[in-house]
Amino acid sequence: MSKKFDMSKYEDHGILGPFVRYLKANLGILAAFIVLCLLITVMAPNFMTVNNWLTILRTVSTTGCLAIGVMLAIMLGGIDLTGGAMIACVGCLTVTAMERWGMPMVPAIAIGLLVGIVAGFIDGWIIAYSGIHPFVVTLAMQSILRGAAYLIAGGQPISLYANTTYPIIGTGLAGIVPYPIIYMLIFFFLQYLLLNKTKAGRYIYAVGGNATAAQFSGVDIKKVKIMAWTISGFLGAFAGIILSARMASGQPGTSIGAETDAIASCVLGGTSMYGGVGNTGGVLIGVMIIGVITNGLTLLHVDSNWQYVAKGLIILLAVYIDMIRQNKQQSRSE
């Protein structure tokens, strides 16, 4: 907290309130994002164009959906590693249902989403009732889903010819804005509402901050956990629908490691791996940073293998800077 300008007094007032709170929580990462954008703009002239930004947003839409769910798991002091495998499994299932089983589009999508919800529910249920660490539970589920993806698709990608409406879900445009961007923003908005405007949202902060104290306050910890992982499962499945629609095919080997990008986005966005701390706006920026890095490096013709290395380094640096900033803030307020 700065002594000269204490923003906290504006926090409660009027329509500016959420905006000020947002700025205060994300100042560091927002600055990093802007600097990053400026740097790339200078080096790659074709970066700062409307078309390129729409491309960035479209590519991050799947990571974005995953990150929204993963963040809830992280906020509870846990993790969700199922993301990439969920995308593959649900994509393969939905496409197979239409292509091979002759299902119409709506029930096929419903089955896909249902698998995500059920898998997420099972994760949450095991985590809540058995006490096994979420890392282990979701790692196991990741393996199961990846296996299921190959089994359903018969070991190789299947293309979709039977249905021509389905691909529009992933490629359609509203004006110039691709649909997936709209889905992602809607989900971010819903998560904002969940965390800020509902009891369940506060319970997530409470359980992540101190589960015992939350329990003593009458919070049903198990229910909160099951809810978080179920939502995460649903969003993973939705990401699977988006991606398979965009590619008009089910790819059992797709999105390996997509969950790590999602986790990185959350951490970049100020979500504490210890739980109890995080905000929606921060994660959105985290997602954008990941997208901008990938896009910028491509524009700069950096070899894609080197892109992984660069991405890792940038994430480390950004989180380190943010940590220093937070430590400073903390030592000043104690």
Partner: protein, 496 residues
């Protein structure tokens, strides 16, 4: 005239919104135990953190052995001979005693850790503090008291000149306290100066030579222990005389609101039955481990229960989940505020409102005005000292944290309030305030159950008392029958 070991003068330190230290001072002589006394938030811990190298003061000077020093870090403090024994044990639980003592400066021969030499030398330091354990024992196998002794042995091995002890007895048994004091006396004889922070006045009078009193971040005065009385210290601490410390006006209790019958929970709680009336304060006395907390938690289904019935206002609630029982008008303020009561990294506002969200969060709509009202009401009625309601709870002093816990539960407007050790780790001033609040609540018709291990407060505050030992209720005494020997007789009753 003994030699001056430490001289701290004009120490000031500010944090945003709080002036934690305001021209504080402290003098410590060689070979003495100096008590450091003050209410929670008086600045004792901050002053000691300055001496221990954890905080840098804004102004002021520190002299050790007559030399002006600046202490920039914990390591520098250690080099100057300052040892800090914190309330929480700072040892690695899964390493041996010797490995802990030499952690970071392992004894080596030919580039390899020389365990045998470490054990041998560790043994010498352990002997010095009079601790008889095998240096190869894993630390987690030792009792808390013994772990503390290991920490002191470690400090001795670091060539300490002075030792700061922050409430070292808070989790020790009586025997352990005795051997701690014995060891402190032998350190004194070696010329080591000890600064001893404690809220327990009886300990201050047993062990200290002089007492330095602080209030609101400033130095109040230093007295010689032998020449003063308890009331002197208390009035120095609070800045006023505390008359009517236990404020209690007794009224005729109303009808029964809570009745528990035949509550069982394994061996921890055996066949307990009790009831409480409106406007009554019911005390639960017993030694640590008597099963009092477990019984009350079991009543609220926060602890596994095998059988028994619980009725609130005539309605059977035995099978309801905790949240539903709470909605019937009962609130439990848990014993350990940091573990069970508060979400430390969150704000005062968040903590106070978490159990009453229903009152201001509707369908996707938060009534911030109502939230503010509830929170401010809590802060005001309990006089929580804080610059703002968005302050993180971990930045508050112990007494203020306890008030936040109370405010949180009072926000749900309970008719039955269970207080588990409500004044533990709280200073005299805050204690008096908590008693006053309890009295007001009881006068308004609330039924209060107080679990306490402090005889004076339970004797003075309660209408009726139940005494437990070994998981059973051993006796029930009415106000007129309160007598220390009787109470203790029940409290140490063995299995029949």
């Amino acid at each position: 005239m003994p030699k001056t070991l430490v001289e701290m003068t004009n120490i000031s330190k500010s944090f945003p919104g709080v002036k934690a230290l305001d021209n504080a001072q402290l003098t410590l002589y060689e070979g003495e135990v100096l008590g450091l006394l003050g209410e929670n938030g008086a600045g004792k811990s901050t002053l000691m953190n300055v001496l221990g190298g954890i905080y840098k003061p804004d102004t002021g000077s520190i002299k050790i052995d007559g030399q002006e020093v600046t202490i920039g870090s914990v390591v520098e403090a250690q080099k100057l001979g300052v040892a800090f024994i914190h309330q929480e044990i700072a040892l690695v639980p899964y390493l041996s005693v010797a490995e802990n003592i030499f952690l970071g400066r392992e004894l080596k021969s030919a580039g390899m850790v020389d365990k045998r030499r470490m054990y041998r030398e560790a043994k010498q330091w352990l002997d010095m503090v009079g601790l008889d354990v095998n240096p190869a024992t894993m630390v987690c196998r030792l009792s808390i008291g013994r772990q503390q002794m290991v920490e002191i042995a470690k400090a001795c091995s670091l060539n300490m000149k002075l030792m700061i002890m922050d409430e070292p007895t808070s989790s020790l048994s009586e025997n352990e306290v005795e051997s701690l004091f014995h060891m402190m006396n032998s350190l004194k004889e070696r010329g080591i100066g000890i600064i001893y922070i404690s809220h327990k006045l009886s300990e201050i009078f047993t062990i200290t030579d002089r007492v330095c009193v602080m209030r609101d971040g400033s130095y109040v005065g230093t007295i010689i222990t032998k020449e003063s009385e308890e009331s002197d210290l208390v009035s120095m601490m609070v800045g006023r005389t505390l008359d009517n410390y236990y404020a209690r006006t007794f009224n005729k209790p109303g009808e029964v609101v809570l009745e528990a019958k035949n509550i069982n929970s394994g061996k921890r709680v055996v066949d307990c039955s009790f009831s409480v009336r409106r406007g009554e304060i019911l005390g639960f006395y017993g030694l640590v481990g008597a099963g009092r907390s477990e019984l009350l938690k079991a009543v609220m289904n926060l602890y596994p229960r095998d059988g028994g019935t619980v009725t609130i206002k005539g309605q059977d609630v035995s099978k309801l989940p905790t949240r539903k029982i709470q909605e019937m008008g009962i609130a439990l303020v848990p014993e350990n505020r940091k573990l069970e009561g508060l979400i430390l990294k969150n704000t005062i506002s968040f903590n106070i409102s978490i159990s009453v969200l229903k009152k201001f969060i509707g369908k996707l709509r938060v009534n911030y005005k109502k939230e503010k009202e509830i929170v401010d009401n809590g802060i005001q009625s309990l006089a929580v000292k804080t610059p703002s309601r968005t302050q993180a709870v971990r930045n508050l002093s112990g007494g203020n944290q306890q008030k936040v816990v109370l405010a949180k539960w009072l926000a749900s407007e309970p008719e039955i309030l269970v207080l588990d050790e409500p004044t533990r780790g709280v200073d005299v001033g805050a204690k008096a305030e908590i008693y006053k609040i309890m009295n007001e609540l009881a006068a308004r018709g609330m039924a209060i159950i107080m679990i306490s291990s402090e005889m004076p407060e339970i004797v003075n505050m309660c209408d009726r008392m139940l005494i437990m030992s070994g998981g059973r209720i051993r006796g029930e005494l009415d106000k007129s029958e309160f007598e220390q020997t009787k109470i203790l007789h029940y409290a140490i009753a063995e299995e029949i």
